[in-house]
Symmetry: C2
Subunit: 423 residues, 2 copies
């Protein structure tokens, strides 16, 4: 890792603290990932990417920057990657999945703020995230009260652009979002000096759609019994989709899917047929937030799907590639993003249908709903999702947790009881 | 009170529980309000209104309904009262200031929901609020995650109309709000059968502006030292402004202001000159949420202003009365509402200026910032308000509490220390 020390120093990271973080992350990854039996060969690529998460990929960003390209950091699936790529910029999700710099973060945002928000602020204030330090611009969105207000404080530390997201899906709400998409387009053009032409946007849209198609294919293959891939590995793939090079990533996922198909044809899997199949639903799990999946799969279940922003919420819908003029392409983009079933919308009944459909398609025996502590939108929806699943005879367990390890035993007890119940 | 029993039974209230609530409220009012020395004579009207809060005023609503008028319930200063009145409907703020039906409410919304939201849901589920039961329509707004998602559940129990409020003050955001104002107009016309003409809207706008002018006058008079009115009484006046008949209320407030002017001219006040002057800032305090003001004024301070929705946030701005055509009048309405400095907006720097200006004008020795527990927007802004006040040498105490009485001693200790500090 020391090969990157110079780069990290240039990025002004807190080197000793960062070394400590990587050591913990490595240990954590070994315990949770490398300990798994019967993994797909294609996961080697993901293991490599993860082992180089603050190394090679960050180096690629520096190389891109040296060539004059810009790096855009994001926290949410509502920021259109198509536009970022069309401006020849690099689009990366920022570190938000581990407790870091919490004390410093709590000077900027209230203690009763969800772990994800405190995490990205803490990573910045503690100088631990080489992605944040590489960003020419960070793009926020008004999805929830916590993020909306946290970005105001965060803007004192990074070059922030905040997109307003509406809270309903009315015509006027769509018009507001469309105006915000155009404002992001202009901001990108100003920052990069690149004009986003229909040709550039079409090419970028194809790249992002291809990534979504590969992840959709992966999702579909998980309906097989025995399950061809662990939930931990599938989650990792979705996590990596937010910061890896999109073309290379898509190829790797498709290769992995080929391997999964061969495995399924042979009737093989990561766990024996008949293993309890659980689906995850709720808040995003950013790298390295693997606590709950680890607890679930350590309790004799296999996770068959993630109804989450780091999961199907980000991959379900494609952008229509047929329009050829800029106006039509922007409309197609807006239509696609306004279909996202985020809990920030009111009402958001599509999500209830999507959760139920997904649980049925994946033959889930039960659903674990995951809400980050203090995340009001998903805590509210947990109650509705439970009702929708109950009406279909699918049991649900509602969990509320954060990034600390203090509640692991308690989570285990509850998950094990749930697995026994649905078995 | 039993004179109203038949009415309450018709409204399907839980009579024994409601009797209990009124008894507690009466005792509470006696301790907090009637025990005060040197009150203004004009407060007798407010004492009467409060003593008849579930009686005479509710009777008036039933009489209005018998005449074919509709009753509209609200929870927020963003619902334009001008339009409600122009449709010849009655506009009332709904009960949301006391713990009631909490257990039932927690089946509909998460436990980590602010007391105000749990309160209005609890009042409904426990059948304790004659206002809610009188409503032909309840109007919500997407101001915060908590309310936005709670209205989805609440809509299963009342006839709900939710207005989308934008989260920024951009041109597109204004267009969204304008469309929502028009949608509310149509909904009112449909419900009442009344067409909202420019004449009707002009008359209603004048009524609401007059109410605001009277409350502005009251606010200004509180700059006097000694303070002519207690903060408790001023808060009560603001609370009553949400459900009393607006014309009668305005007359009473102006009469009270006349009395205040006479008192000021004589150099008299509710507390001796030199009493520590504190300003309240933050979340709304709905009836009968008087806990913190009681603690503050019981600690030797006098409250000179409420920077709150139940306070200056609702009265600071008037609607321009000069346009005569419908389009111009709606624009004026939208302009006025989009000036509100609610923490739901990002950024919301106007509020920082307003808090500082107000503290200076009222010669406040310090500011107590009040955030309801789990209210993320105001908890975030507390940190910013503290910074803005500090820059002007004005000390601030940040309090986070709910409607329970469990923390009263703790609040007292902190407030007393703050009063000593700013003395």
């Amino acid at each position: 890792m020391s090969a990157y020390k110079e780069m990290w120093e240039k990025l002004n990271l807190d080197i000793p603290a960062h070394d400590g973080l990587l050591a913990v992350l490595g240990k954590f990854y070994g315990d949770i990932y490398l300990s798994q039996q019967g993994r797909l060969k294609g996961m080697e690529y993901l293991d490599f990417v993860l082992s180089e998460v603050h190394g090679l990929r960050v180096k690629e960003l520096q190389d891109a920057k040296a060539q004059g390209r810009k790096v855009i950091g994001t926290f949410c699936v509502f920021v259109p990657e198509e536009l970022t790529l069309a401006a020849d910029a690099v689009h990366v999700g920022l570190c938000a999945g581990a407790d870091a710099g919490t004390e410093q973060a709590e000077k900027l945002v209230p203690r009763n703020t969800c772990a994800l928000i405190k995490s990205f602020i803490g990573f910045k204030l503690a100088r631990l995230c080489p992605y944040t330090e590489s960003c020419d611009m960070v793009v926020g969105e008004t999805t929830c009260d916590g993020k909306k207000k946290a970005y105001e404080a965060f803007a004192e530390h990074v070059n922030m652009h905040v997109m307003e997201l509406p809270q309903t899906k009315s015509e006027s709400a769509r018009a507001l979002f469309r105006a915000e998409v155009l404002r992001y387009t202009s901001e990108l053009e100003r920052l990069t000096g690149v004009t986003i032409t229909p040709e550039r946007l079409a090419a970028a849209t194809k790249v992002v759609n291809d990534k979504r198609r590969a992840l959709q294919r992966l999702s579909r293959l998980r309906a097989a019994d025995p399950a061809p891939i662990s939930g931990r590995d599938a989650l990792l793939i979705n996590q990596v989709s937010f910061y890896d090079d999109p073309v290379r990533f898509t190829q790797s996922v498709n290769a992995l899917c080929d391997e999964m198909e061969a495995r399924i044809a042979k009737g093989e899997g990561i766990a024996p047929a008949g293993t309890v199949r659980l689906m995850l639903s709720g808040c995003p799990m950013a790298v390295p937030n693997w606590k709950l999946p680890y607890v679930m799969e350590g309790s004799g279940a296999v996770i068959v799907g993630e109804e989450s922003c780091i999961g199907t919420r980000n991959t379900r819908d494609l952008v229509d590639e047929s329009p050829a003029d800029m106006d039509g392409m922007i409309d197609a983009l807006v239509d696609r993003y306004m279909r996202i079933d985020c809990a920030c919308f009111t009402p958001n009944t599509e999500r209830l249908d999507n959760v139920v459909d997904m649980a049925k398609e994946l033959k889930a025996d039960g659903v674990v709903h995951y809400a980050l502590m203090f995340c009001q939108p998903y805590a509210h929806e947990a109650m509705k999702v439970e009702g929708a699943l109950r009406a279909e005879g699918i049991p649900m367990l509602a969990m509320e947790t954060d990034y600390s390890m203090e509640d692991v035993e308690q989570l285990k007890t509850r998950v094990q009881a749930f697995v026994e119940m649905v078995r």
